[in-house]
Subunit: 558 residues, 2 copies
Amino acid sequence: MNKLIRIDMRDLTAVVEDTPADLIGLGGRALTSHIIFTEVPPTCHPLGKANKLIFAPGLLAGTGAPNAGRLSIGAKSPLTEGTKEANVGGTAGQKLGRLDIKAIIIEGKPDSDGFYIIKVDPSGAAIIPAPELSGLGNYETTANLQNTYGEKVSILCIGPAGEMGLAAASIASTDPEGRPSRHAARGGLGAVMGSRKVKAIVIDDAGTKVRKANNKAVFQEVCREFTREIQALKSTGLFRQFGTVGGLSYLSKIGALPTRNFTTGSFEGNAQIGGKGVAELNAGRGGSFGHVCMPGCVVRCSNIMHDRDGKFLTAGFEYESSAMLGANLGIDDLDTVMGMEKMCDDLGLDTMEIGVALGVAHDAGIYDFGDGERITDMIREIGQGTVLGRVLGQGAKITARVFGISRVPVVKGQGVPAHDPRKEIGTGIGYATNPQGADHTGVIIFHAENTAEMVDISRQKQITTCAYDSMGLCQMAEANLEVMAKLVSSFYDWSWSPEDVADMGKSVLRKEVAFNRSAGLGPATDRLPDFFKEEPLSPHEGKFDIPPSQIEKVMDFK
Amino acid sequence: MNKLIRIDMRDLTAVVEDTPADLIGLGGRALTSHIIFTEVPPTCHPLGKANKLIFAPGLLAGTGAPNAGRLSIGAKSPLTEGTKEANVGGTAGQKLGRLDIKAIIIEGKPDSDGFYIIKVDPSGAAIIPAPELSGLGNYETTANLQNTYGEKVSILCIGPAGEMGLAAASIASTDPEGRPSRHAARGGLGAVMGSRKVKAIVIDDAGTKVRKANNKAVFQEVCREFTREIQALKSTGLFRQFGTVGGLSYLSKIGALPTRNFTTGSFEGNAQIGGKGVAELNAGRGGSFGHVCMPGCVVRCSNIMHDRDGKFLTAGFEYESSAMLGANLGIDDLDTVMGMEKMCDDLGLDTMEIGVALGVAHDAGIYDFGDGERITDMIREIGQGTVLGRVLGQGAKITARVFGISRVPVVKGQGVPAHDPRKEIGTGIGYATNPQGADHTGVIIFHAENTAEMVDISRQKQITTCAYDSMGLCQMAEANLEVMAKLVSSFYDWSWSPEDVADMGKSVLRKEVAFNRSAGLGPATDRLPDFFKEEPLSPHEGKFDIPPSQIEKVMDFK
């Protein structure tokens, strides 16, 4: 991939540059975090004009490698006030790869209030006024754009949440069926896009082909072997059967499922909103499992959920959404939880951050756990932009501030996702140290014997995840360093060793940590909130008791 | 002063201890910041149970030294999330000195929801349930307590803002007339007090006497000389004539008066809401000037403002309040501004933070500058605890977050007070580097020739201010290091040199900076927001253009 597209929203210009030599080895998160580190003033306001929003497909995008189509999106985060990368499935990553586009970098803000779209195709990029899209949800936005640009384009877009500058605003990405069901959810990147007055990016790769490997025979053989490995994963079988939500009852059983604002780790309604629930419901309504969210996926963890009338409701009803909007709010009615998830999809909201924020809001005494109707109304308020809606849409930390609540499950301002760190201690070490804040990717550790082991596993997992995110690989594919080295080496004719892949991962973490420090986030922001250390988590009475001296070892590597 | 009173709100106990040897040389801010540094876990939630709220009179409290009755209050701040000291006039500091109380330290939180008062007198301290005070404003609270405990007691109390945990909540202190007109305003200490369920502290010093100096003759002579020096200050004359608001027209004239959300530095209505306005209004209504806010004050900068009916409205109508609630919101009607100030007094709100927050809220399009009626309603909403009210009551940074606004005049989360740093560059250096966040005390520099000089003056000013705040001295008295050394040396029979006083000031700053770092506030939080560097300030077109390399020199001292 050779082209860097720089969009300047001040004067509405798009410039296509050749990729400079020092960026050629970078893709996905390695590239977004590098550009943030080198080009974004660390103390700038995330919604101010100096921030940049970067879209970068992974090194393997558009190559035909399995599970390698994820798109990294990065900026200084309005949620954490530090560096941010969120990656997303859908079709955009692969198309950008085929278009030979290394990254799209959106800079500056226009003076006027109207929204624009950016159209990207083999001829370059154009910035087109689109005032008619203002205020539309993601589904209407994508339908409108597909009407104009055809059903085969990929669309990256924001809903009303991003337009309003809410720090829980996501950037949606259309799936192979053209639905905006996938989200670069975490960290408020949708708000950064909204602040630049970009409503959508339309990507048309008509006429392009799969990228050619330098060493085609080896590359294809590595891909075949990797495909077999993915297919053989035990988790792949589970995911194809139920989607990721299939794991919910297990998490409840081991007592790690955030329930009722993290007051317990098991939810009595786990069957209803977990794998059993979605399977029974789909059997009667015509929904289905085993879909892909991006071309080239072997795992097929995406589900299609139908409503009571047997019509499409939502795709990619994930574990994290069901956990944080369901168990964490005490709701065991699957239709209600799916309805909330669909609203978040359409408004362009991170279901995790909203689930955590709503959980915190319970302590303000404004609703009762399990009151799906009231809670649904509160999500509706986010879309309406009422003051309460805006507060919730700014995430858990702000919701707690506004209501004077001191028990706040956030790290670096980002809501803790659906693995309680008191049961999953190793995961908690990752929440504390991940430069992205409490994140659900790259830090989950179910099994580890002792603290030192957890520290090592967490570090290694975060390094490897940086590599996945830079290749464009889905974490569900569980690539190891060796296969990643073989994939890029055969495709690019590089000679990367597994150590080279790890070194790239380390380099990403180093830049991310350095940016955070320069942004004012000191080492002491690498901590979990006190209540995880103090309140035992029923039913297993666990606490997060890892001392700072151990936590500090995670990012201490050469 | 020998007694430390530790109040544990978990079990409602009060323990009186002798002051440990290592704390004897510390008073006021030196003591509050030391206890925060040594006893408060830096990453704790400010409203959580691990935070501590410390009240410490200065070393010269109760001694008869002029202008030495200020009381320091400290805690980890819910506004800045760093260390916080706010000091306040009124009668409490002197009474605590006479009671031989070095500090009151409030720890823990009760399990129940009801509020308490703490009664302090020569016999010790008692914690008394006071559910009847819940929800009351400061005026009703103090009237109620004076009814019970007599008119001569000092009262430190919070209004509804503190009860709600708002980060702009102040702690009020009664003046010599028993009015809760003085406020430890900045940093949300009222919210920390509210979170501990303490509505008020009642201080009864009946039967106590002025503290005796070790070297009485020298101490009295130093006091007399210092009194003459204070009386000779040009500013003292101005303050006695109009109060501090007398300076407003000058600030407007030089173009440093924050006006309409910091969009210009001059306000056409400056005469109406400045010295001329208050003088004319008082002449017709029976208000007056030249009052003291604390016993022993020589400056006498407090004014008494009456309403249209000639009745008492507010005391201590200060420059900062008139600037931030008047000019910064485009309101030139003095009665409206005074009415807003009185509401803040009664609700227990920092007028500066609220003025900055309301200014920012303008950019959300929810009111027009100058619309006093609408703006007054918004302050009313803070007291009512509506969601909008709570947002505003959390201060400027949260208001900006909720409404997606990126132009935010805050440093370390604290609203910039009434000296625009684009005109007062040296003041801006202080805003950036002060461990307290953007503060109106200890950083104001009107005249300096060049950057290096400003850096030196700012450092020296902050060190000296730490010394004032540790002695209990009002900054208006402009004590120099020498007089401070003489005062404590003759009173305590210590042999402090001016360098020793400066060393104490330096030690305070060091501990405050260290606590901030341990709380996660990295060096990069020592910055002004970008718009002060980018938007020229009319009418003089100044910008704040000091590079970080210079800013970093301020706290770089031995």
